[in-house]
Amino acid sequence: MVEVNYSQRRPSTVISIDRIPELKGWRQNGDRIEMGACMTYSEMEDPLFAAYVPSLAQAARTVGSPQIRNAGTLGGNLATASPAGDTLPPLAALNAQITLRSLRGERITTLSNLITGVKSANLGRDEVIVKVSVEAVDGPQEFLKAGTRNAMVISVATVALVLDAARRQVRIALGSVSPVPLRASAAEGWIADQVNWESPSVPDKEAVEHFGELVASAATPITDHRSTSGYRSHAVGVMAKRALARALS
């Protein structure tokens, strides 16, 4: 819509999918949470939803203004494929499955297969996103976002962390620090071995510190008008430490 408003894009055809009930809202399906492509950020902020997928709820609250959150959708955030898309790191950390549909049928894909570059989504001209599904994880989730304003700000860097006690995994995804949402796999693997999974905790503060360093080194950010590459790496490191400390507290 921004591109249309600025005449950067002049689509000859626009199809409204706003009134298709199947694309709206969210539902629980066994141990999974299914979200319609037209689920709005405001709906993600709902405490009932937040109880299942807190990191997405936290991310949704940082998006734009209340008016934008009433209009903007999960499907829109995915299709835009911006490195700064706020729901993308939580979806990456939650191993989301994304359902696409066209006249040719339906396919299910992952975030890393869908988003291939800056504002580039592997989405056919005849395809629409219909559904996103994540597991209802047993364990805390955290989303942190650095921006130069305390609300209604595009992200300078984001971190989403999921503590999956059942799988004994710490999954962490980073936003705005690479062309696509990034999983800090080395940091994930290292910290999983440090955590005492019986009563989730880490042996010492040094482990948290090192986790932060590993996360920071995973980032491959650029310098632009919003911030510097150095700050972005630093910020994801600090936010990773804080997210882990909160998840373990």
Binding site: V2, N5, Y6, S7, Q58, R61, T62, S65, E142, F143, L144, K145, A146, G147, T148, R149, N150, A151, M152, V153, I154, S155, V156, D224, H225, R226, S227, T228, G230, Y231, H234, A235, V238, M239, R242, R246
Partner: protein, 763 residues
């Protein structure tokens, strides 16, 4: 029910000193107010501007044929179609209406289009083919001094020197620093818009949101080769100004298109174009060395200031002069040597913005005062108190201050104000109260709190010998007062003030304010904290003249001495109560009208040492900021700004508070987020996605601890302008608080997260 007959006498409400509500307040909040962007005329065309994508390039050729061939396009105009001088400018006409041989900044207008539909106009502008040859850019203001000239008038727009006292004096204690201020934007809500239509025999009528109707009129007439009488301007609803509407933007383009097509033409900039269309606050680099005695008393201030004026002069000369004249701040400074350069570069043009040059100087001199305090182990308030200006002191320009100068009182008021409580609780409970806000980056244990102080001095009205005046008319008929004045309402409150003055003088409740247009003489610009004084003064004079005429008329009819008569609550009364009649009755048979011109005291141009009685009057303010800092993340939250201000007299308390809160919001914005990022002449964040201004969640509590009402001798009702001071010292107060919380130098605003979080690695 009482049987005794009573005379209905409604006391006149809405006089000076009352919180009179704005007539446009409710319509603006309900969406019913008509802004300049809402203008409409049958058969109107839509205008669009084509702008240069390059910061510096030669135009080898412009081909408009493809644009003209598009159905619905009525005109595609270039510099060849501009009659008259073809140039305009607030200070000097150095800016082409449409670029001729060379474009000097990215965004400079090259062609204008009029078409039946706005989208057609946009497509036509895109279809204009311009052949550019790239030229080397000059984008650094300091380097511009020695760089090849990018304009026939050279790269130095103005060089100012202020020499005061013994410039060789040396203080026992010296502190030195170099400071930077980024490019702030006025970021008004209503983008540039207006409508022009041809009238009469070659004339043009323009409805526009602006700050100065007659200033626009004169520039339009000169640029298009018209007589000033042939340009008629009416003010349209203004959506904020803050200095950005002082310069002409689309005014001349609209008139040009209307005259060329013979039809009404409307134009609205979108948000992105607005950033390219208007001038910004000058980015500045400032070097300072303060000399003081061991007791902390200033001996000398040395400063070198470089302001980046961008491609065209705009008001750079005056902004620079202000920065230099107030380089030492509100402090006794016996000796000073200040040198300033206003430079021309291939960056976007800079001009007027709330605070007008003093903002940049104040950030630096206040950082210096903190450095001096630290060097002497004094409290920041104490070093300021020891140096505070008092009435009768002289400025570094040699001018003696004759009006109210309550600097110590302002500082003391801040010292006595209680400090706000810290946020306590878990992140879920307090995130919006912590740095990072909705981003949930901080827990309260990551946060350190700092407290910082700053004070400022600002001149009121136009300076340096300018023949500054305002014109107003008052008419009284059938018991109704009508005020006519070309004073532009940009939100400052003249629409209520004019009525308050009329009620105060004439004792009549019903006051109408005519639309502002050029059918009456100039009111000057709504800027420089000047309209309450200047147009307020003109309205006061016109109302007093009508009062005198009316009383003389009543005197002639009744035989009572005019001096024994007074006006009160819609009636003419004699002092002894023996005579009483309604004003409506007297003014039904005879209407009264007087038009008056008001001038402030004459000022002087500075001499070669920057000395002289250059300014009319001065206003002072002081701020205390409390800022929570998450140093590891480099994120900030301003908790509270307490302020004390020298106001002369409060004319309308609720509007005074509005000016103070709004000004502080803009000062806070400059301190922590507002910056147009320019990279090799290209603006990188021309949108509200990336040019960040404080939201309601970033705006701190404002604690007005003291408004000093010490009447200003020459001002109507003793009132000083209050619009600018809140913006000026709020910025350095926030920076000082961050300094106090972190121990970092903080030599630049806005303070970026990396400036705090990575300060060690940058050092």
């Amino acid at each position: 029910m009482s049987s005794a007959p009573t005379i209905a006498r409604t006391p006149t409400l809405g006089r000076i000193g009352e919180s009179v509500q704005r007539p446009d307040g409710a319509p603006k909040t309900s969406g019913e107010f008509v802004f300049s962007s809402d203008l409409w005329a049958d058969g109107m065309l839509w205008g669009q501007t084509l702008r240069s994508p390059h910061a510096h390039a030669r135009i080898l050729g412009i081909d408009v044929s493809k644009a003209l061939a598009i159905a619905g396009v009525r005109a595609v105009l270039t510099h060849e179609d501009v009659p008259g001088d073809g140039c305009y400018g607030l200070d000097r006409p150095d800016q082409p209406v449409l670029a001729k041989d060379v474009v000097r900044f990215c965004g400079e207008p090259v062609a204008v289009v009029a078409a039946d539909h706005p989208e057609t106009a946009r497509r036509a502008a895109e279809a204009v083919e311009v052949d550019y040859e790239m030229l080397a850019t000059v984008c650094d203001a300091e380097a511009a001094k020695d760089a090849p000239a990018i304009h026939p008038e050279g790269n130095v727009i103005r060089h100012v020197v202020v020499r005061h006292g013994d410039t060789g004096a040396v203080g026992e204690v010296q502190v030195e620093g170099t400071y930077e201020v980024g490019m702030q934007d006025q970021a008004f809500m209503g983008t540039e818009s207006g409508m022009a239509a041809p009238i009469g025999d070659g004339g043009v009528e323009l409805r526009i949101s602006t700050q100065w109707l007659h200033g626009d009129r004169d520039q339009i007439a000169a640029a298009l080769g018209l007589a000033v009488e042939d340009v008629h301007i009416t003010l349209a609803g203004v959506g904020g100004a803050f200095g950005a509407r002082e310069d002409v933007t689309l005014q001349i383009h609209l008139c040009l298109l209307a005259l060329h097509t013979g039809r009404p033409v409307k134009m609205i900039y979108n948000r992105g174009e607005s950033f390219f269309g208007h001038v910004h606050r000058h980015p500045a680099r400032l070097w300072y060395r303060h000399h003081a005695g061991r007791d902390g008393r200033l001996v000398k201030v040395e400063a070198r200031l470089t302001l980046d004026g961008g491609a065209y002069a705009s008001s750079t000369s005056f902004v620079l002069a202000n920065a230099c004249h107030f380089a030492a701040g509100p402090y006794r400074t016996p000796n000073a040597l200040v040198e300033g350069w206003g430079m021309r570069t291939n960056n976007p043009p800079c001009g007027a913005m709330r605070g007008f040059g003093v903002v940049q100087a104040c950030f630096a001199h206040e950082a210096q005062m903190d450095r001096l305090a630290a060097a002497l182990n004094l409290h920041p308030l104490e070093v300021r108190r020891r140096n505070a200006l008092r009435r009768g002191d002289s400025l570094i320009t040699g001018q003696r201050i004759t009006g109210a100068t309550p600097v110590i009182e302002l500082l003391d008021a801040l010292a006595e104000a209680p400090l706000p409580q810290a946020a306590v609780g878990s992140v879920a409970e307090t995130d919006m109260e912590l740095p990072g806000g909705a981003g949930r980056t901080a827990d309260s244990r990551h946060v350190r709190r700092g407290v910082g102080y700053a004070a400022s001095i600002k001149n009121l009205m136009y300076s340096a010998g300018d023949d500054d005046y305002s014109t107003a008319a008052c008419s009284l008929a059938d018991g109704v007062v009508t005020i006519t004045c070309a004073c532009v309402e940009v939100g400052q409150g003249f629409v209520t003030l004019a009525g308050q003055i009329a009620r105060e003088v004439l004792g009549i409740s019903e006051v109408e304010i005519s639309p502002a247009d050029t059918s009456i003489g100039s009111a000057g610009s709504s800027s420089a904290s000047r309209q309450s004084w200047m147009s307020g003064g003109a309205v006061l004079a016109a109302c007093e003249a009508v009062r005198d005429d009316l009383l003389a008329h009543v005197s002639s009819k009744t035989g009572l001495a005019a001096g024994e008569l007074m006006l009160q609550d819609g009636e003419v009364l004699s002092a002894d109560g023996s005579f009483r009649a309604s004003v409506a009755e007297f003014t039904a048979e005879k209407a009264f009208r007087r038009e008056e011109v008001f001038r402030h005291i004459q000022t002087e141009e500075p001499d070669e040492n920057g000395q002289g009685n250059i300014h009319v009057a001065f206003a002072f303010a002081a701020h205390r900021a409390v800022v929570d800092v998450d140093a590891e993340m480099g994120l900030l939250r301003t908790v509270e700004i307490a302020t004390a201000q020298d106001v002369g007299k409060i004319l309308n308390p609720i509007q005074a508070l509005g000016q103070i809160e709004g000004g502080i919001a803009q000062g806070l914005g400059l301190a922590v987020m507002e910056e147009l990022v320019i990279d090799e002449g290209k603006m990188r964040n021309a949108s509200f996605t990336d040019y960040l201004i404080p939201t309601a969640l970033d705006m701190c509590d404002v604690n007005v601890v003291r408004l000093v009402e010490e009447p200003e001798p020459d001002a109507p009702f003793g009132a000083k302008g209050i619009g600018e001071p809140p913006t000026i010292s709020s910025t350095p107060a926030v920076a000082a608080a961050v300094r106090a919380a972190t121990g970092l130098e903080i030599s630049r605003v806005p303070i970026r997260p990396s400036d705090v979080a990575l300060a060690d690695s940058q050092a």
